[in-house]
């Protein structure tokens, strides 16, 4: 599969603050790629750099093979990309139907049938001013304006924020159906349950650096929580092995998070004469929290 998004050592500094620090990421065509990270980790800055809204301090990036730091290329990128921003702020003086009419003029491949279907499904009032819409309705409208563009890449920044559970489910189903039709989806979210539900690839960013880049299947299969009890107290240094992400040693007990190499790690644990060993799969949330805590 070809890479739709690629960045090489991408950096963004705001004064002395390094928002993004040498990011190398790649998003494959046709995938649903989740972009996870805490608030202020650099997700939105990265997305804005991809769309030419923020200029990289150094490094390079491309979307559909076009450079993100070139104004003409950026314009061509945005013809193929539908972006739904985190705050979902739209022109509040326009009505719903006015902003739909406004937006569709920029996208020759606008999907009119899909637009009508989403208007009904989201129960959006065409004549109502945007300033009179609730936050949830505004989010639905912003998503409609993104989904109906007929674009090849959908970039969503916290797409389900402010939506009720039913609407969240609707949106996730739409994203999945669009992927089935060949659209690549790159989305950031704090809702890890949603990410687990639809993503097939996970990128995790922490303080501007990529800390995980793996297919979801691999994450689910390979990440393991290993808890072991030993007859004598153990030291963290005894467990510095390839594949171990975090180590917490307390007296005779140790808790490990392994991203790969689990068999070798278990062999090592048994070699240290562990009396009791438990191996359990980890949820994405636990992995995320583990990564963030380990780095802090």
């Amino acid at each position: 599969m070809a890479a739709v998004i690629e960045t090489v050592e991408l950096k963004k500094n705001y004064g002395k603050h390094e928002a993004v620090r040498g990011l190398n990421l790649s998003v494959q065509a046709g995938s649903v790629c989740a972009f996870l990270g805490q608030n202020g980790a650099g997700k939105t800055t990265t997305i804005k750099m991809l769309l030419g809204m923020v200029h990289p301090s150094s490094g390079t990036g491309s979307v559909f093979g076009r450079r993100i730091d070139n104004e003409n290329d950026s314009l061509l990128i945005r013809q193929k990309v539908a972006f739904v921003a985190e705050d979902k702020r739209l022109y509040d003086y326009m009505t719903v139907e006015e902003i739909v009419r406004f937006t569709k003029t920029f996208f020759p491949r606008w999907n009119h049938d899909f637009e009508r279907r989403l208007m009904e499904q989201f129960d959006l009032p065409p004549k109502r001013k945007i300033r009179e819409l609730s936050k949830g309705m505004r989010t639905k409208l912003a998503l409609l304006l993104g989904f109906a563009r007929g674009c090849e890449l959908l970039i969503l920044d916290e797409p389900t924020e402010g939506l009720d559970p039913v609407a969240v489910e609707d949106v996730l189903q739409i994203v999945v159906s669009m992927t089935a039709e060949g659209t690549t989806v790159f989305f950031s979210s704090h809702q890890i349950v949603e990410v687990e539900q639809i993503a097939d690839h996970v990128l995790m960013i922490d303080r501007g650096q990529l800390v995980m880049d793996a297919p979801m299947d691999q994450v689910k299969e390979q990440y393991r929580h290993i808890q072991a009890v030993f007859p004598d107290p153990v030291d963290e240094r005894d467990f510095r092995l390839p594949g171990i992400e975090t180590i917490q040693a307390k007296g005779c007990a140790v808790s490990l998070v392994a991203s790969h190499n689990v068999d070798s790690i278990l062999e090592h644990v048994h070699m240290l004469r562990a009396t009791n060993v438990d191996v359990v799969p980890l949820s994405l949330k636990e992995i995320f929290l583990g990564k963030v805590k380990a780095r802090s």
Partner: protein
């Protein structure tokens, strides 16, 4: 393109309508002044210029009050753009569309220019109606030409207003900076070149005025007189192809192009 024009119009129309009301009030007030006051003893009358209604319109509208009112609203209309959208939170949506920043800027400025021109032409309509009410006649072509000249020379007001908004975001801050940037040289130049205005008078009034103003020494204009924006916007009383201040207009258009280029370059560098 039409969608962008429509959006810019929606965002500026309240200010535009306020501008229409303001220029109408200025015109009606001045026309009413002419109707109720005797100007035959005014300073201009002392220079040998008769109580001419056309001269009155030029002097009180295009040289002073209307010009200043129009310039104020041209600045107000120009205080807009992606910077304002950054403050209101809609810039991510706008820049997510396949539209370059320069196109956003120039489309918006095109709308502001059209609105400014409409303000100026609206004045012609008000003058026609107002003059009919007070039973005065005037040269319609002269009023129209002055309206066109005011916009042609006033484009720099729009460009500077927009630059000020880009460099000093915030309605009040940018307005104050723009007014200072335009107002200080405006007043300073006015103070020094006021007397040269006599040269704008057609004969025989110019000769009479020159005789009466014995201190008048205007063999040639100083170089900075080409930056006399008020003079360029008002033009001479009798405006035609030969009396149009072409040099001043060329200077203004060159400066406007420079200001627009700086604004566009600055806009391209901003992180949203």
């Amino acid at each position: 393109m039409s969608a962008l024009l429509y959006k810019a119009w929606r965002e500026t129309r309240v200010r535009f309508l306020a501008g229409l009301a303001a220029v109408a009030i200025i015109c009606i007030f001045q026309i009413e002044q002419h109707h109720t006051h005797d100007f035959s003893h005014s300073g201009w009358a002392g220079l040998g210029i008769p109580d001419d209604y056309g001269f009155f319109l030029w002097q009180y509208l295009y040289v002073y009050f209307l010009q200043q009112g129009w310039a104020l609203f041209a600045v107000l209309l120009a205080l807009d753009g992606l910077i304002r959208e950054k403050a209101s939170g809609t810039v991510s949506f706008s820049l997510g569309l396949p539209v370059s920043r320069k196109r956003w800027m120039f489309t918006r400025l095109a709308v502001v220019l059209m609105e400014s021109a409409a303000l100026s032409l609206f004045v012609v309509l008000v003058v026609i109606v107002g003059s009919a009410v007070i039973h005065q006649t005037f040269s319609l072509s002269q009023v129209f030409l002055h309206a066109v000249l005011m916009v042609a020379a006033g484009v720099i007001v729009i460009a500077l207003g927009n630059l000020c908004y880009a460099l000093f975001p915030g309605n009040y801050r940018s307005l104050l900076v723009a007014l200072a940037l335009l107002g200080v040289p405006y007043l300073w130049i006015q103070r020094h070149v006021q007397r040269t205005r006599v040269t704008d008078l057609p004969e025989p009034f110019r000769a009479r005025a020159a005789l009466q103003l014995t201190r008048l020494r205007v063999p040639h204009q100083p170089w900075w007189a080409h930056f006399d924006l008020a003079h360029a916007m008002a033009g001479p009383w009798q405006l035609n192809l030969t009396t149009t201040p072409w040099v001043a207009l060329l200077v203004i258009w060159t400066l406007t192009a420079l200001v627009l280029a700086v604004t566009a370059a600055h806009g391209d560098r901003i992180d949203y």
